[in-house]
């Protein structure tokens, strides 16, 4: 009897928790739901107020966005994918070894270099847009993937390094040392011991880097061109001074989100409790 009560209490608690989560989730999702709905609406239903919940869904907006001859949307989405995936990969490849070095090695000037990296995220883009344009223009590297990828790496490096530092710091150095005693090289110890333990962190970092690259408008707008324009640059053409093409804008927005959602779904599964390191840290 007492046992039953405890189960009921636990169920009620879990119910309350899920209810709280769903309320906050509702707030987080309703603008997106609104946009999703509009993307399936014809022109007349879009401007109807109060919002029509029952309407005849149409794929017209999606067809128009995808089939547009002058601005082949899928091509720009492909550009976003090239820039997003490459810049995330480079930022991780350059940033994680650096973060490891900052946590595990002692060398002069370390704290200053760390802080300098942080400052690269502080400058208001408005101040540096023109110098960047002049720089890449002189190098004849406007409208080149190399430029965009490098810029997005720069955009993300501070975040990657500093967040990776905070995750690596949590792993006790003794775990690596015992692996080295067992015959691992230092790199091997990092790859086999530390990396799996910080996998949830790396997953979160890569999702964030991907999102910041994917949604960057400022640098992509100034430094890309006809061949390399990314999807967020092109989507602004649906917003003109006189009118907003709501149907097409919404359909395009949904299409833009899709690849990142897939990426997040694939990577998210690593955000779960890994091995505990309580044994050493406890």
């Amino acid at each position: 009897m007492k046992h039953d009560l405890r189960i009921v209490a636990r169920r009620t608690k879990l119910g309350l928790i899920i209810a709280t989560l769903l309320v906050i989730l509702l707030f987080e999702l309703f603008p997106l739901f609104w946009m999703l709905e509009i993307s399936f609406k014809g022109y007349k239903d879009v401007i109807a107020m109060p919002p029509k919940l029952l309407f005849e869904p149409t794929l017209k907006n999606y067809r128009e966005v995808i089939a547009a001859k002058r601005t082949p949307f899928l091509h720009y989405l492909g550009n976003s994918a090239i820039v997003g995936l490459c810049s995330t990969a480079v930022a991780l490849a350059v940033g994680i070894p650096a973060a490891y070095s900052f946590v595990r090695f002692r060398f002069p000037g370390k704290e200053n270099i760390k802080f300098w990296i942080l400052t690269t995220r502080m400058a208001p883009p408005i101040a540096v847009l023109i110098p960047y344009f002049l720089l890449f223009n002189r190098l004849r590297l406007i409208d080149s993937f190399v430029t965009l990828i490098l810029m997005h790496v720069t955009l993300n490096l501070a975040l990657v390094v500093w967040m990776a530092i905070s995750f690596i710091e949590e792993v006790p150095v003794e775990l690596e040392e015992s692996a080295v005693i067992d015959g691992c090289s230092r790199i091997g110890a990092f790859a086999r011991v530390t990396f799996p333990l910080i996998a949830p962190g790396i997953a979160a970092i890569s999702i964030l880097a991907m999102i910041f690259s994917w949604n960057d408008l400022m640098f992509s707008l100034v430094l890309s061109g006809r061949n390399t324009a990314t999807a967020p640059v092109v989507i602004t053409s649906f917003i003109t001074y006189q009118d907003v093409a709501w149907g097409k804008l919404s359909a395009a927005s949904m299409l833009i989100m899709l690849p990142v959602v897939v990426f997040a779904l694939l990577v998210q599964k690593y955000i779960l409790r890994g091995l505990t390191f309580g044994a050493v840290k406890g």
Binding site: P97, M122, I126, P131, T154, W162, R186, A204, L208, S253
Partner: protein, 289 residues
Amino acid sequence: MIAGKQERVHGYVLILPLCTVLVLLTVYPFFHALLASLRSWNLADPASHRWVGLANYAAHFADLRFWNALKNTLFYAVAAVGIEFLLGFLVAWLLNREFRGRNLIRTLFILPMIATPAPIAMVWRQIFDPTLGLANYLLRLVHLPALSWTSDSSTALMSIVLVDVWQWTPFFVLTLSAGLASVPIEPIEAARIDGASNLKIIRHIIIPILKGLIVITLLFRIMDALRVYDLIYVLTEGGPGISTETVNYLAYLTSFRWLRMGRGTALAFILLILTLFTGSRLVKLGENR
């Protein structure tokens, strides 16, 4: 001694690629901008181009519009990031247990951050419309008085904060979820057996372990909130009046609307110095462990 030297060399080798990328890409724009901020440089008037020293900075400090923008920027950053952190922590904490559909819920929670900023800000502008917007439609539905949202100077800034909270709470959900996933279970279970409440566990076990991560995530959100620009551009253009004008938005107006590049860049540098100061204080806070 040899080990010490080797360690230094290894340390430098591992950060070399990173430093190369950053030196190549940040040093030139930085000095270019720094010099620009010390010049009078009006794009509409080529004759104006000359060295003026710190006059651009002095002009801002004497301008009430600058102080208004500074006040708005600080209020925005503190209010938005504060709410986002508390809400994000709550969600991450509630998600940190086993139940069916947890992964789906967590993925849904990060969608607002994935949404492309410009179009989604357009959606919010539509939601805030006093007569045709969804926000007031919902308020009327539950018989609450309608609000003017972004079209009244007393609620405009708070409305933009609301959108920021909507967009960036997921940042804390994601990062703190990853952090909580790496907290060892044993001390928490031991504390729970001893009868410790959730609040006590969070305060005495979780926060000390995650202190580094919490400071870093707060730091990054504050740095980004201090230079907020795009939401303001789409939602209010700094209005009504100058009630939602932030430093970065004022810098944009000065540089690209009024074409006074030197003066606009000086404003960006004032913001950079403010951010440097805030950043170094927060970093110190994280190191006191």
